[in-house]
Symmetry: C2
Subunit: 639 residues, 2 copies
């Protein structure tokens, strides 16, 4: 199955439509301005002695902005944006070396050193992002300008690296080019791009280790590497097929695993897909935050040990969450298993949405699950990977809602036939499939779980529709034209109609047929595996896909660490005008009182607990009302 491209989907809901529009009107221009002011845009024509010396990974920031801008152009054409893209492409083209090389730092700052430090210097990472942008730009505008520049660059890279004679057996320390090359392969059908991606993936972590050799060639002792002689940080500690645990820098890991999944599909490599499944299972069973955040430590921007999920110091980088969506989407379309869509929904509605303010101009690099009031979103970062990453994700978020399978293109009709459709995520929207099928969702999701789906095939046709039954949902009813098709209540085994987490309806569809899905959406109290020590004695609130938090601002500014909750008597209230329209939760609890403690830091008498009404808001919108304390995992009532 393949995703239905975002270009075929129109959102008519209050959440995604407004986020996409804010992204287009606020975020994308804001990032352009930041890139312009900091010298990133003009890095291609920088000269020695000028300010804003191009940094080695600046090109990737501009590239991700270009990709976001391209997606945005498809949805809403803007002449100025089109011209901004053309101007950058023109500078880039002029800067490109005759041999195709293209990196603004190495072109201008230290041309003698290019390709001498693949481990640390991000050259191919930048190339990969430029390539993704080039593919997007071509799809958005039909222009070949950027695509041609990048093909020349990729051809240069292909000439330098690989197993052929005279080539170096290197690969980039920060994975990215691999998945980009497969995008280029899919666009051009040119096998050598797939081959190059395959080489980069398969070469990774082999012995003799390229990063050892490369360090010695620079006159460095490999053991003086920041992480010693250990390349786990770069997922290069062993060949990728021998990797069984998600490890190292989380963004790098997600981009690698995404490319591995792509490669497994393109080469029908079940054993490589099994590696990906094993890595996935490790991630979701031991190293994933409830918000979908991942990579718990700032020290390596990545993974630590199993079940180590601190809340206040959680790194949970925005780019890692986005990378997880990339990977999960590939796994989903490779397998048809809803567990991958469950994770997309978890990370999208929580970790990813939390990373940008409601006004679209402030960005979180890290997404902790608790704050003492120190954390806030920023307008920009000197390491600015996250803002343009969220921009490209939001501009193309429709990619994750639907999938389809086609028959093989018939040589006679030259059209493909939709055999089957999948709805992974729910939101009020219209989807237009290539065969003319229209699917319309009418719903307030995620505020409630009632979804009406109107089917409009161009002509009556029999095909299967797969409707994801969310893992958070224990009771649901699915009807077609008012007649119950299948239902399930809490704690019963899956019925045969729910296949890999999808409710499958196989029938002849007529225009106007309606499916009604009613996913019960009670307030859920979530507990973490007792091996996750940081959540012992704590509970989180979730309703539908939305994970909640409590904020000081809703509790007279108190430090919400002092709240204790009881897991009963909670109610949901929709507030259309608050925080862009949210459902808040209200319940009873207590506030541990610091009154009467005076100067005492420790004492023998247990602290007093005062009753209080607790208000929880979606984690995704926290910190939009000034800095203050916040917490997802709340202390359970004790004593």
């Amino acid at each position: 199955m393949n995703p239905l491209p975002f270009t075929h989907i129109t959102f008519n809901d209050s959440l995604w439509r407004s986020r996409i529009e804010t992204n287009r009107t606020q975020t994308i221009p804001h990032i352009y301005e930041q890139c312009k002011q900091t010298g990133r845009i003009d890095a291609w024509k920088w000269n020695q002695g000028e300010p804003n010396t191009p940094h080695v990974f600046w090109d990737s920031d501009v590239a991700k902005w270009m990709e976001a801008a391209s997606y945005s152009l498809i949805t809403t054409y803007q002449l100025q944006l089109d011209q901004q893209l053309d101007d950058i492409i023109s500078m880039m083209s002029e800067a490109q070396m005759k041999d195709g090389y293209l990196n603004s730092h190495y072109l201008h700052v230290e041309p003698e050193n290019r390709w001498t430090n693949l481990r640390d210097k991000h050259e191919m990472y930048c190339a990969g992002h430029l390539l993704e942008a080039a593919v997007a730009h071509h799809q958005a505008t039909g222009k070949e300008s950027m695509l041609n520049v990048l093909k020349r660059y990729v051809n240069h890279i292909d000439s330098q690296f690989g197993r052929g004679e005279g080539k170096r057996r290197g690969y980039c320390g920060h994975e990215e080019i691999e998945l980009a090359l497969i995008k280029l392969f899919r666009l051009t059908k040119e096998k050598r791009y797939l081959n190059l991606a395959q080489y980069f993936i398969e070469e990774r972590g082999t012995q003799p280790h390229y990063y050892d050799l490369e360090a010695r060639a620079r006159g460095e002792d490999p053991s003086k590497y920041y992480f010693g002689g250990d390349y786990t940080y770069l997922q290069a500690h062993r060949p990728v097929r021998e990797q069984t645990e998600v490890a190292g820098h989380a963004v790098r890991a997600m981009y690698l695993y995404s490319a591995m999944t792509d490669l497994a599909r393109e080469t029908n490599d079940e054993s490589l897909l099994d590696v990906c499944k094993k890595l996935w299972r490790h991630l979701v069973s031991k190293r994933l935050y409830i918000t979908g955040g991942l990579g718990s430590s700032s020290s390596n921007e990545g993974f630590t040990s199993d079940y180590d999920l601190p809340d206040e110091s959680a790194y949970a980088e925005t780019c890692a969450g986005i990378g997880l969506i990339f990977w999960a989407s590939r796994m989903l379309n490779a397998t048809g298993d809803s567990q991958y869509a469950d994770v997309i929904e978890r990370v999208l509605y929580n970790n990813v949405l939390s990373s940008v303010s409601l006004d679209g101009k402030l960005f979180a690099y890290v997404n902790p699950l608790a704050s003492n009031g120190d954390h806030k979103r920023e307008t920009w970062y000197s390491c600015a990977c996250c803002p343009p990453n969220i921009a490209r994700l939001l501009a193309s978020v429709g990619n994750y809602f639907y999938s389809q399978t086609h028959s093989q293109t018939s040589e006679v009709s030259k059209t493909s036939e939709v055999l089957s459709v999948w709805i992974h995520l729910y939101a009020q929207s219209e989807a237009r499939f290539e065969n003319g099928l229209m699917i319309k969702q009418t719903t307030n999701y995620p505020h409630d779980g009632l979804i009406t789906i109107t089917m409009t095939p161009p002509t009556p046709a029999r095909f299967k529709i797969h409707l994801r039954r969310p893992a958070w949902c224990e009771s649901f009813v699915a009807s077609v034209n008012g007649i119950v098709e299948t239902s399930e209540v809490a704690h019963t085994a899956k019925t045969s109609e729910v296949l890999s987490g999808y409710i499958v309806i196989d029938r002849e569809w007529q225009a106007g047929d309606t499916i009604t899905l009613n996913f019960e959406m009670p307030i859920r109290f979530v507990y973490a595996n007792p091996n996750a020590r940081q959540m012992i004695g704590r509970v989180a609130l979730q309703r539908g896909p939305v994970v909640y938090c409590v904020e000081g601002v809703d509790h007279d500014g108190l430090d919400v660490s002092r709240l204790v909750i009881k897991e009963n008597g909670w109610e949901a209230e929709h507030r259309a005008t608050v925080l862009g329209g949210v459902t808040v939760l209200k319940g009873k609890g207590g506030a541990i009182s610091p009154n009467g403690w005076g100067d005492d830091l420790y004492r023998f008498a247990s602290p007093r607990i005062d009753p209080i009404t607790i208000t929880a808001v979606p984690y995704s919108v926290w910190g939009n009302r000034g800095a203050g304390s916040m917490r997802v995992w709340l202390q359970r009532s004790y004593g």
Copy 2:
């Protein structure tokens, strides 16, 4: 009042006697070997091209070892140790420059740069430790050899720094020399050493800022300093008299405040003492761990924000705990207020004792209050400040047990008269005062709170004895020769006989008079101020001065994070042969079970709790039975 020197006290207990003996027979030789092997001992005669290039603060490691060795010589003379000291002093003397300068790094590695970076390079810090060692060596052996070397060095420093014409207005980034100079002043009565200490203390943090000027003189931008333009790390963010919060690097802070307290006493400066009292109150009410550890963050090896006391990532450096004892002792003897002795007891029995293994050969640099099994003591550290610091502390631990006040020396008799004595800490021991008074404590303290004190004055004499009534004790009885003098039960106001936390008995003492103190020592459940978010919903166990922890090793290796306790039904059991002789606590609780979770990281059903008997051991001896999980602050039973 002044402390009765450790040289006048003999321990006959199971705890201190064995720790001091292990320190003498194991730790001191072990540290010498480490210093020898790593080149520290021979740094004085190092030549270019040889291995083990002397590091800028190596001299301080050797100096602290020399101080420890000197104290040990006083208690138990060992010819070999005396000779080792002489050999080092001889090397040092030969290495010393004609002008008195003496730092093995700058002498040999970069002589052209001495005194160019007081902010970072520890030259005077090393000088201070050498000076403390010289004073100790003189007291131990009567020899002048090291003292003369150090006097020449100090005279050189005095000639270079100060407010006089041609002098630089510098001071060391790592405080230490200030308190050492006051030791030298007290030994020699030479006022200029006090004046120099006073200059260093008062100059600190004044404008124009010396570290700005000094950085510019090196051609550096002061704002490129690791902490930006902020000198809080060095307690040089403002003049010391304007400092109101303990801040920055914790060891530096303790050494500075110790010197400030000394200076206040020597100059009868009440306003400076008030500054110290304000800093003290801030520390103990907002930034001190229950174990007496301090400085919660590894990022600055120091203080963060109020009530920020994470347990697993607690830094609580060994040297900071030792520094706190130094400061608290000075405050205690300056004020006679038992709160300072309470803190000495807290840090000594918990943070400090935990920093060395029972066999005396493994050392903790940091002293976290929880561990996932990652933490263990090491044989040595490349930054080796802690091991010799614990050695010198243990070799002189008697310093903190007793104090005395004297009358002015009578010109006729030329002897001083003891007016009053203080017992701050309890342990089975004998103390010999200068007037011939012997005080003998017979007790199992800290295993129980019954203490029999036998008074043996040389002749019957009237004087006051002050017996510290520990802050942890809510009920006690004090008797003399079997007749109750004063008593108190929980929650009554202090009686007039308990002055500043001391039970004062003023009478004529005859040889053989016995005081019986019975401090009730129940198991206490300790709660932290609710502003300390990391301890919300948690409780610690304490009995007497001993803070407890639970270890995985006592619970079939389970992660003790999963334990929950109820605050009743606990019992103490003495185990003479376990962990050097400890009292363990046993109580009922639960273990949150990971059974039945399978691969789930999150679920909607609350985890099961299995009943379990929980065993707690003193925090000071944790990690002596292999690596494993440990926790001081335990989850209270919830639900």
